[in-house]
Amino acid sequence: MTPHVLHQLPLWVEGDLDAADMAVVDHHLDQCPDCRSAAENLRASQIQLREAMVSPFGASDRERLRRQVMVQVRAEGAAKPVRRLLPRFALLVACAASLLLTVFLRRQGPAAVAPEPTSAPKGHQHPAQPPPALAVRQDPLPSHTRGPAASARKAQPPAGPTRIEFQTADPTIRIIWLAQSKPLPDTTPSLEEKS
């Protein structure tokens, strides 16, 4: 008779032995009543284990858990919405819109870039130019000069670049462009040549 396999039975019972060892154990169990009895007891114990550890939770327990979790999830979701794709998409849209707006403003002429130009040539000034469409805000002064003091400084041409702000659909994302109103040296002659 082959050697007893009692020490291998806890692995054998769930198929954790390799094929060769499984065959050896099976062969021994055919010959040895003691080991076979131990193997049957272990198998019965595993069945009892699975039967005893069936989940005690019912549908009402699961619904209660779901309610409790969702209360917190909704509170956290409202405070800090889960975002992964949205910011990327919003940023992409904002960049595309900015690019289109820049092209549009450049086509309108240098004065359209800055309704109250700061460093553009005097001959190109158009003070009555309407602001661009969409949710664009043009501010000739940097943000730190806005407020009550801004109207007082309106008469003086500011030295800094024009400020263009976009408010995206997401209230936490705002795109700010600082646009230089002075036309590029190589574009102005080409426009003049066409006219």
């Binding site: 954790d16 009895s37 039967e51 327990d61 969702m70 917190q72």
Partner: protein, 209 residues
């Protein structure tokens, strides 16, 4: 012996966790949640909560603690869903979080109360009535649960993941952060101890079951 037990385990999601299935059925739900549709999380829970509750209860052996663990698991899932990698199986990710939560809670709780010295009140009637059968079943369950409670945490986790949750040895090893051979050895040790525990308490004088 217990014909309904396998079916019940299947209902709880007694299935292995393949690494990269063709398409995860909860992927659209995850996209909706990440897109800001928080209520879709409820659907995600409805699909997976039975398994999480069962796993937590098996790991911790306490109903209330298991409910706390399941709640904490889902909150962690919600808070870190943006870190979930596309293409990974969600249920494997969820089970990993649940196992970590259970291990944290088990560490905080400390060792379980000592098991009973004997269960001699179990009836030995060879032909029990239906009512006696129900009582006997309840006592057997209590006995097995005591046996699990007597195991070291590592052995219990290996046994639960390998034999009750249906994971392969390699999957359980990945979840527990140990080598497969460790899981194999811990699960085997746990099986032997559970059997010895039940035999000792059912037959304290050395009789056969």
């Amino acid at each position: 012996m217990f014909p309904g037990s396998e079916a019940a385990l299947m209902d709880e999601g007694f299935a292995s966790l393949p690494e990269a299935p063709a398409e995860d059925p909860v992927a659209p739900l995850i996209e909706r949640i990440l897109g800001g549709e928080v209520n879709a999380f409820e659907d995600l829970m409805a699909r997976t909560e039975a398994r999480v509750l069962a796993l937590a209860w098996r790991m911790l052996g306490d109903r209330h603690l298991a409910e706390d663990a399941a709640q904490e698991t889902y909150l962690r899932v919600f808070r870190s869903l943006h870190t979930f990698r596309q293409g990974e199986r969600f249920e494997a990710w969820l089970v990993r979080i649940a196992v970590n939560v259970c291990r944290d809670l088990a560490r905080k709780r400390g060792p379980l109360p000592l098991p009973l010295d004997s269960m001699e009140m179990l009836p030995r009637d060879p032909a029990p009535t239906e009512a006696e059968e129900v009582t006997l079943l309840g006592q057997r369950r209590a006995l097995v649960q005591q046996a699990l409670a007597s195991l070291p945490q590592g052995e219990r986790a290996a046994l639960v993941l390998r034999d009750l949750e249906g994971l392969t040895t390699e999957e359980a090893a990945r979840l527990l952060g140990v080598r497969p051979v460790t899981v194999r050895s811990q699960a085997a040790s746990a099986r032997a101890k559970v059997q010895a525990f039940c035999t000792r308490l059912l037959h304290p004088h050395g009789g056969h079951p």
